[in-house]
Amino acid sequence: MEFIHTDTRRMLADTIDRYLRDKYPLTARVEAGNGEPGFQPAQYEALAELGVIAALFPEDQGGFGGEGFDIAVVFEEMGKRLVNEPVMDNALVPGPILAAAGLSDAVENIIAGTARYALAAEEPQALYDLTDVETRAEANGDGWVLTGAKSVVKYAPGCDGFIVSARTDKGMSLFLVAPHQVRLRDYATFDGGRASELSLEGAEGQLLGQEGTGAEMLQEAADRAVLALSAEALGIMQTIREMTIEYLRTRKQFGVVIGKFQALQHRMAEMLLEIEQARSAVINAANAMALAGPERARIIAAAKYSIGRIGRLVAEESIQMHGGIAMTWEYDLGHFAKRLVMIDHEWGDQDFHLARFIEQGRAA
């Protein structure tokens, strides 16, 4: 039993932390998040150069990591500084799907930070269910033709390709679609960032992997995304924790620092305790990436449920303990709180994952 990361991972964490501390101011992040393309391309390239993306891929795909704890370390560090670069959406999620389909050049470029791909899986009617797919793919000679619509595809403009889920006669499959084949209508997201509604009207697509295996490939991607989001949320919670402690120690009302009031002390203690539970959930999920079947699925679902529940608590409580100042755009806390709550809206919220946990428990 050992709850300390390996030297390599600690060095990676230090490197990311040092870079972000020096070179990733929150003001630029917030500004970029509300403009186009919704992130800072120069920062994204710099992170790739630092090895942030390579850490997410195994050696045989050109990276130097790829295990659950690599993902957890990278995203926790990025969460602490509220990094808003498409590392998850344009690299971690699409990369392994392309690798599994044998497109190693694309993966190499993703790791180098010179290419970005996006997964377009969720549909407007699906409410997080990745198997609720109405988009159709029809065989057309050597290729396929796709028709349908996908919702909230993050960081889509400028991507080199889209991985689209669609139904064929043999079930659900994944297809690679070129950017000029799709129509995008993009908009800002609430937590700072950019997303698109994507429509396919007779778009040409290339089948990835075997026909009918889309659901498995998606689930693998979803597990990685859930782990990354959970670790990011944990990083955010830690920063909120530090900000709130500092505020309780310095803000005065009624002539004393507000941290002297037991009503706030007990709220804070509850929050501190729940953050430790969130950390445990992330450790458990990172560890579970090496497992398989319902055992793994249950632990991953438990983590996302926990993060959803605790994330909301931490966001709400920290705002309450700060008072009015936390309601302003200018004060940093709100941006962290918004991302923390919005994480519950990505890859299944707490209710979705609680139901999944129950269902997988019956399968186990």
């Binding site: 941290g259 007990h266 458990n284 990172a286 449920y305």
Partner: protein, 398 residues
């Protein structure tokens, strides 16, 4: 990061598990599983079986006749005991007074008391709380006045668990009213057969009789029964608390309870469908299960720290809060899974020769009693509110 036990630890776990399967009396395990009342003889019987094996003092260092196991092995042992439904070992002698005597007692005290708390000669109870000193323990008033070779003790202790069986009581008593309340407290060992001691049972909310009041009127206690120095008792009590707080999370017990609840929820039917399939009930079970899974990891993190020699931090307070809330939630769900049958009050249903009706399913005759009894867990050993104060003090520092 490695969440697994070492090969050696796994072999140790298997050894404990195998031994328990052979040596834990079936009747005791059955009583523990259904949370029915254990007699003094039940508890002593199990204590002596463990003592013979040399595992009773599983938390003691080897120099005092203990196993010398580290925190991880102790944890594994406790978990296996919980999974096997072994009677719980009373902490008062083995986990509380024992370590205090080892650290602060004289050689004579160690030689006299330590073996006797193991072989069943001395049943120990704890004299801490008073009617006016609950969470605010340092305000205790029971007084010990030195007269020659004796202290004369007057006052009242309360919530004395199983004091009705006890041969000895270790007490915090006031020997000085000068300075801060914490500075005038001493740690005294008192023979329960001393003239002037009266034990009055307190009937608890569930109808049980596990706690007592202990009254002292002019009780003569020889001065050699003082542990350590006069007026330093608070230091010893705090030292003792750190021992009390190990394995405070009760992971094994709660896992055991959860398994029982799941079984119950699968066999209880409504409209021909298992209660476990009811979306509301399933969701509540899943929530507590996930909290427990997370706590299990939190607990292992703390354990790994302890194994590496780290001092207990705010995490033990967190584990106390979490562990007791999870336990309480499980007792609540169990009660609710029983429906109308949880209303029956038949505490004697598990006694031999009971010939009344069994209203609830086997093993769940006292679920409402268990539920109400467990309200105590967020009150004793430092209430949830006290634990929150501690967490706050250690982390925010105000």
């Amino acid at each position: 990061m490695d969440l697994n036990f070492t090969q050696e630890e796994i072999e140790f776990r298997d050894e404990v598990r195998g031994w328990l399967a052979k040596n834990l009396p079936r009747d005791l395990a059955r009583k523990v599983r259904s949370e029915s009342h254990l007699t003094k003889d039940d508890m002593l019987r199990w204590q002596l079986i463990l003592h013979e094996k040399g595992w009773l003092t599983y938390s003691w260092p080897a120099e005092f006749g203990g196993t010398g196991w580290g925190p991880v092995k102790q944890f594994i042992f406790e978990e296996e005991m919980a999974y096997a439904c072994a009677p719980r070992l009373l902490p008062f002698g083995l986990r509380m007074l024992g370590p205090v005597l080892m650290k602060f007692g004289t050689k004579e005290q160690q030689d006299y008391y330590l073996p006797r708390m193991c072989d069943g000669t001395h049943w120990w109870c704890q004299g801490y709380s008073e009617p006016g000193a609950g969470s605010d323990l340092a305000s205790l008033k029971t007084a010990a006045v030195r007269e020659g070779d004796h202290y004369i003790v007057n006052g009242q202790k309360t919530w004395t668990t199983l004091g009705q069986h006890a041969d000895w009581i270790f007490c915090l008593v006031r020997t000085s009213t000068e300075g801060k309340p914490q500075e005038g407290i001493s740690f005294l060992l008192i023979d329960m057969k001393s003239p002037g001691i009266e034990v009055r049972p307190i009937q608890t909310i569930d109808g049980g009789r596990e706690v007592n009041e202990v009254w002292f009127s002019d009780v003569k206690v020889p001065v050699e029964n003082l542990v350590g120095e006069e007026n330093k008792g608070w230091t010893y009590a705090k030292y003792l608390l750190t021992h009390e707080r190990t394995n405070i999370a009760g992971v094994g017990k709660s896992n055991q309870e959860l398994a029982r609840l799941k079984e119950l929820a699968s066999s209880q039917k409504r409209n021909g469908k298992a209660l476990a399939e009811d979306p509301h009930f399933a969701a509540r079970m899943a929530r507590v299960e996930i909290d427990l899974m997370n706590m299990e990891i939190t607990n292992l993190r703390v354990l790994a720290q302890a194994e590496a020699g780290g001092a207990p931090g705010p995490e033990s307070s967190m584990l106390k809060i979490l562990g007791t809330e999870i336990e309480q939630e499980l007792t609540d769900l169990t009660r609710r899974a029983l429906g109308r049958s949880a209303q029956a009050l038949v505490p004697e249903a598990d006694d031999p020769g009971f010939n009344g009706p069994y209203v609830a399913p086997e093993g769940f005759q006292n679920a409402s009693g268990v539920y109400f009894n467990h309200r105590k867990t967020t009150i004793y050993g430092g209430s949830t509110e006290i634990q929150k104060n501690i967490i706050n003090k250690m982390i925010v520092g105000l």
